[in-house]
């Protein structure tokens, strides 16, 4: 009698597609996890193989947790893809409280028929982004929905981080007289994604700015003798700079006065927006932040931002004002004044 060698035919990542068995919890599902996700994300916590990851608990500080669903279309765009975006988005949400991001969890909703080659590309991009950010993906989940009930892949990520005691950065902290800074040019992500949209295709060299901003945040905090002088951090994603400033104004019950001439926008983004009838102030970013700080530290903070690769284009764009109506007002380059209002309706659907 001969014993056959245990053999499992490897997944065909070149020509294969997701089918319903990949989400059924059986052998096919386990094989997908082992050959794709575990191999790509590889870290000691994920390798525990538990349903939940057991993690060392940081001593001191407070825990920060953030979650973000990613439904972007198209999945691949100039400068990135849904994989790295889903890491950057959540790392940034955690970092905007001044926290150091520690761990990520990822949940995938896959559509039956989705090409495994595309999934592999996305997962590897995600793994690379997590590695570069130094934030491991420690647990995850995979589900499959019937063809037509999803759109290739949706990725939901959750992140936790720790913020030192005493640091209090949030949207309610903007004070009258504070200075408003942005870390760079506005609108690249939205325009890069739009350039690929059906019926809108135009050739452009504009790439998404998708990036993890936590090291920039750390550099900013370290540059300040008293980190308490940094009052608000926020990343202007959907709805762009305009909507984010309005959110902060409302939360802090203040007004804002900004100057159009000081807001950095790449000429090619400006041109694309002109063509599409969009306003760059409302177009999404995925690798930029807004910082609001006490006026006396503005120069130090600006210098620290400009010294970091992700903040080279940082600019001071305005100040926080007293305004019971919480208006964000802008002096136009033209010489007039106007409100910069919340985004209304849907300017760019499924941008992240």
């Amino acid at each position: 009698m001969t014993t056959k060698k245990n053999y499992l035919r490897p997944i065909d990542f070149k020509h294969g597609h997701i089918d319903m068995t990949h989400g059924a919890g059986g052998r096919a599902a386990a094989q997908l996890v082992n050959e794709l996700f575990a191999r790509a994300f590889d870290n000691e916590y994920l390798n525990q193989g538990h349903d939940g990851a057991l993690l060392p608990f940081p001593t001191g500080g407070r825990l920060v947790m953030a979650t973000d669903g990613h439904v972007i279309s198209p999945l691949f765009f100039p400068g990135g893809d849904i994989g790295c975006l889903s890491v950057h988005g959540t790392v940034n949400d955690v970092a905007m409280s001044g926290a150091k991001p520690l761990y990520l969890a990822a949940s995938f909703i896959l559509e039956e028929g989705f090409a495994l080659a595309d999934l592999k590309r996305i997962v590897e991009s995600m793994a690379a982004a997590a590695r570069d950010a130094g934030v491991p993906i420690v647990t995850g989940d995979t589900k499959v929905v019937e063809k037509g009930k999803g759109d290739g892949v949706f990725i939901s990520t959750t992140g936790v981080g720790v913020v030192p005691d005493g640091l209090c950065i949030d949207g309610r902290q903007a004070r009258v007289g504070d200075v408003i800074l942005v870390s760079g040019t506005m609108g690249e992500h939205g325009v890069a994604v739009m350039s690929l949209r059906e019926s809108l295709e135009f050739e452009t060299a504009i790439e998404s700015d998708t990036a993890a901003l936590h090291t920039l945040v750390q550099a900013m905090l370290q540059a300040l003798p008293d980190p308490g002088a940094l009052h608000v951090l926020r990343d202007p994603t959907r709805g762009g700079l305009a909507t984010t400033l309005n959110e902060i104004a409302t939360q802090s019950q203040v007004g804002m006065a900004i100057e159009e001439a000081l807001i950095p926008v790449l000429p090619q983004v400006e041109a694309a927006c002109e063509l599409l009838g969009l306003d760059p102030l409302y177009v999404a970013n995925e690798g930029k932040l807004i910082a609001i700080c006490a006026p006396e530290v503005a120069d130090t903070l600006l210098a620290a931002m400009r010294a970091h690769p992700l903040g080279q284009g940082a600019q001071r764009i305005g100040t926080v004002t007293q305004d019971a109506h919480c208006f964000v007002q802008m002096s136009t380059r033209f010489g007039g004044r106007r409100v910069v209002d919340w985004l209304s309706g849907e300017q760019l659907p499924r941008i992240c």
């Binding site: 033209f334 007039g336 004044r337 409100v339 209304s344």
Partner: protein, 383 residues
């Protein structure tokens, strides 16, 4: 941006503003109607009102394509999509125009209607060719600027015998709307809307030329300055109107001479008249039935006319009782005079059409200028 920045230059603006301030006579008032939504948008977005003397007042006109679209027309489109199962294609701004039963195209889409936003008429025809099993209808709206592209796709659909494509034509005409305003009781008899001149259409005039306005200047003694949509154009157009008023003149002048000629684009005019003919009457939101103010598809292209193909019958639907869009579109009221403005009617949930498009008087004022109303209130309260 080359060719754009030159027309948005702050120094240039201050230069023209100084000239306007120097030349206006304090014993006169200057009430100018800007016909187009494009001008309304530029005036609000660039804060042009801040740069004008107090006795120069801009009155917003009816030239915003989605604003003048009556509820009944949007209802036709919604029913086509919801009840007849067509794939309905239209320009983005049309999506949120409020219609009957608390619906709009975007809400009908959420109820399962297949409604697509397109950037050009030819994209709608392309969708029809890609989906031969579906009926595709292009909901065509707009003034003379958007009419030639619609004519072109109808001609192409006929040439390529695309049988599953048709057009719901709601194209309207600028000169008849201006005549209607000038003939209205408010302007002619009551004088409640003093109009001392018109900032004439920009893009529309590229197609129809400056000649059609000569009639208004002669017949009604109103100066017209055809003006581009960039803010410096608008400032210059206002200065030219001020000069005509001061000189007691009423002629058509062309500020937008870099693209507008007296005769306009003859090829486009030709194409339009091949495909379209005048409607005897068309209902405008705010203006009511206006004779010979819109276009319909000629019988030769009946196969591509959605009204004929689906046997559609227009029924007029009144606006919300308190909605002042009508009076605002005629220049009788300002957005801030409407009770609904900024309360139940906002860009998020528009009750009236002027709050929908960023070219609409209400949306432009809400989005860019409403802090001025509050500043006025605060100042008088503290005084």
């Amino acid at each position: 941006m080359k060719y754009i920045d030159e027309f948005r230059d702050g120094d240039g603006a201050r230069h023209i503003a100084a000239k306007i301030a120097a030349e206006v006579r304090t014993d006169l008032s200057y009430n100018f109607m800007e016909f187009c939504g494009g001008h309304t948008h530029a005036i609000s977005r660039y804060g042009i009102a801040d740069m004008l003397p107090a006795n120069v007042r801009m009155i917003h006109g009816p030239g915003c394509p989605v604003c003048v679209l009556p509820i009944g027309r949007v209802d036709l489109a919604i029913r086509l999509a919801l009840e007849r199962g067509v794939m309905l294609c239209t320009y983005g701004d049309t999506m949120r125009v409020p219609a009957s039963d608390n619906l709009s195209l975007i809400k009908a889409k959420a109820r399962g209607a297949d409604i697509r936003m397109v950037y050009s008429a030819s994209d709608a025809l392309k969708l029809a060719e890609q989906n031969p099993e579906r009926e595709v209808v292009f909901f065509a709206i707009g003034f003379e600027t958007t009419t030639p592209p619609t004519a072109l796709v109808i001609r192409d659909a006929a040439a390529r015998a695309v049988k599953n494509f048709s057009v719901l034509c709601c194209h309207v005409l600028t000169p008849s709307a201006i005549t209607h305003i000038l003939e209205s009781a408010e302007v002619r008899q009551l004088g409640t809307v003093p109009i001392d001149g018109f900032i004439g259409p920009a893009h529309v005039s590229i197609i129809i030329g400056s000649q059609p306005y000569e009639h208004f200047a002669e017949e009604y003694r109103k100066p017209v300055v055809i003006t581009g949509f960039e803010p410096l154009d608008v400032m210059q157009g206002i200065l030219m109107l001020v000069r005509q008023v001061n000189a007691g003149q009423a002629v058509v002048e062309n500020e937008f001479s870099r693209v507008v000629t007296r005769d306009g684009n003859l090829a486009a005019q030709n194409l339009v008249s091949q495909v379209f003919e005048l409607r005897e009457s068309f209902e405008w939101r705010g203006l009511g039935e206006v004779p010979y103010s819109a276009l319909k598809i000629r019988p030769a292209f009946a196969e591509w006319d959605a009204e004929r193909k689906f046997d559609l019958h227009y029924a007029s639907v009144p606006d919300h009782k308190q909605c002042e869009c009508g009076a605002i579109l005629r220049g009788v009221k300002r957005p801030q005079d409407c009770k609904l403005f900024g309360t139940v009617c906002t860009p998020e949930s528009p009750m009236g059409s002027c709050m929908v498009s960023n070219e609409g008087a209400c949306a432009a004022h809400y989005s860019y200028g409403r802090f001025r109303d509050i500043a006025v209130v605060a100042a008088s309260a503290s005084a």
